[in-house]
């Protein structure tokens, strides 16, 4: 990890403009008029928004798009030709990625880069350079500290930009990062002593009191507990939590046909959806609403760790912000632990 220089905040848009000639640049840009932020393609002249509001749709959006065409097919007589779709056409760089989102990518890699590898996902991952923005805690909902994520120098980032006074200390971490570093040389100046010091001492203030540990007796003990009834009573099953969650990666596959051709595409899906496990002959192993709510939390806090060794939650807090009932994963975990106190009244 080598510090390669200091960049003034005002030079950022210019640098991104230059890079966008060679690579596709994606950055957090304002969306709509209510201060929302969205990771979108950076066009020259756009204004990057760096600030407390995190993009509602996480970084996974540019590696696992909401809707993605898998292949196109066309039939003549009875010959069918299948042409796979090309995931991306140009190498890309993502600016302003947050620590929690980058950590989430590592968890999704566990699934999509495992044999048999998802080629489209791998191509997007390898051809994208991630420029992380060290963050000191975006909002009251953040609790990445509680799940052991370093929001300053997140693992998996190629370049880290640490905000100091009115600019950034730029540090390259990986080889890909260094290649990008060469493009940034024009806007970089040697960092001064105090700037390097503030960069080193940069700290994050996210909540560390959110406890996702298992209830007494382990999660299997609460499988039939009435507490699931309470946790799922007010939940309307809309699945926003799975949409905005950086680690959720379930998808659905649809076909479409027009004339003698057509296409297959996949789109995001949610375990909260009524028909998520509905089979063609009408059987649904998870028909009740509370079973689906239970599945969402058990998968993140029990099954994923059992298979991949880490809880599938990076503490970004988006689920609580997006949920119409402001129910977050932390609150449900607490509820499951203290269920004894409520259920015996």
């Amino acid at each position: 990890m080598t510090v390669i220089g200091y960049m003034k905040r005002s030079a950022l848009e210019g640098v991104l403009g230059d890079i966008s000639d060679k690579l596709e640049v994606i950055a957090p840009l304002p969306s709509g008029d209510k201060g929302a932020v969205e990771l979108r393609r950076f066009e020259k002249g756009a204004q990057v928004s760096i600030g407390p509001v995190k993009p509602m749709l996480p970084l996974k959006t540019i590696f696992l798009p909401p809707v993605e065409q898998i292949f196109r097919f066309s039939k003549s007589e009875n010959e069918t030709t299948v042409t796979a779709s090309t995931p991306i056409t140009r190498d890309r760089v993502v600016f302003g990625a947050l620590g929690c989102d980058i950590a989430a990518l590592a968890l999704i890699d566990e699934v999509f880069l495992r044999e048999p590898v998802d080629e489209a996902y791998r191509e997007r991952r390898t051809r994208t350079t991630i420029v992380a923005l060290a963050c000191e805690g975006q909002g009251p909902e953040c609790f990445c500290a509680s799940v052991g994520i370093d929001p300053v120098r997140p693992g998996g980032a190629d370049v880290v930009m640490i905000p100091v006074k009115d600019g950034f200390i730029v540090e390259t971490i990986t080889k890909k990062g260094e290649q990008l570093g060469t493009m940034l040389q024009g806007a970089l100046r040697d960092p001064t002593g105090p700037q390097k010091k503030t960069a080193r001492s940069f700290t994050s203030t996210s909540r560390s009191d959110v406890d996702l540990s298992a209830p007494a007796g382990g999660w299997s003990a609460v499988w039939e507990s009435e507490a699931w009834e309470d946790a799922s009573a007010r939940c309307i099953g809309c699945g926003i939590c799975t949409v905005v969650c950086p680690t959720c990666h379930c998808f659905d596959v649809h076909d479409e046909r027009h004339g003698n051709g057509g296409e297959r595409f996949r789109k995001w899906d949610s375990c909260m959806a009524v028909n998520f496990t509905m089979m063609a002959h009408g059987e649904n192993p998870r028909p009740q609403h509370r079973a689906r709510v239970r599945q969402r939390y058990m998968h993140k806090l029990v099954y994923f760790p059992e298979n991949h060794g880490a809880v599938a939650c990076v503490g970004c807090g988006r689920c609580a912000v997006a949920c119409p009932n402001r129910t977050g994963i932390g609150e449900v975990a607490d509820r499951m632990r203290e269920r004894e106190e409520d259920s015996n009244e």
Partner: protein, 276 residues
Amino acid sequence: MNELMMIPLIARIRSIREVTFDTLMFEVAIEKDGKEVPFSYLPGQFAELSVFGVGESPISITSTCTRPGLVEFAVREVGLVTEAMHNMRPGDNMGIRGPLGNGFPVDEMKGKDILFIAGGIGLAPLRGLINYVLDNRSDFGAVDIIYGARAPNLLCFDWEFDTWKAAPDTRVHLTIDAPAAGWNGSVGFVPAIVKELALPPGNRLAVACGPPIMIKYVLEDLAAAGYRDEDVITTLEMKMKCGVGKCGRCNIGAKYICVDGPVFRLSELKTIPSEY
């Protein structure tokens, strides 16, 4: 692009044979870039068959890997994709991704007596294994097949029964749920026949596949007859989309039925919640 993940190869239908009024057996040849390619698999594995423009569905491979030639799939018409398959004609082509899933633990089954228990279309995944066992008859002990269906015309693969009966040390017990004209075999539900025969566990493995209600009672009877959980093997039917453990549909407990299964020992099934 690897064919397992999302891009299917072409499966050209060579012949279609009627198994029952709502089930057809497709004999397909696998083609890649227009040329036929070999397709190797293990008994109990399945493949994702797709009808281009309609969708995909997981179908167990019912042919036997020890017999060269075409791959066979038995498809019952239950939904949109299977209905579209039933409207296909020889010469048409489907898409195929596979082989997928773990298949039966054939090596551990060597030297053991085997009790096959099947109901209705559940015989499809077992047929491949039965023929595999009969092709390597000496590697295995006694073979008993209990197979039942609602009515005589719903018994699948009836053209195999005679060859099975003729095989050495192999007994076939057919049954139907309710008496029907022209049927003089035994009448009764499959679990009842299992209890009636009461084959001792001893050196025997039980392999069961069929509708969930039948499996529930069969597992109870086997446990009552003293079969250890590791000696009972079954194959699960679950909602699947990708078939390669990524889309999350078939996730029960820490297991992904499409990758960690669909074949499970009863001992493994007891470690995951009963959501299947």
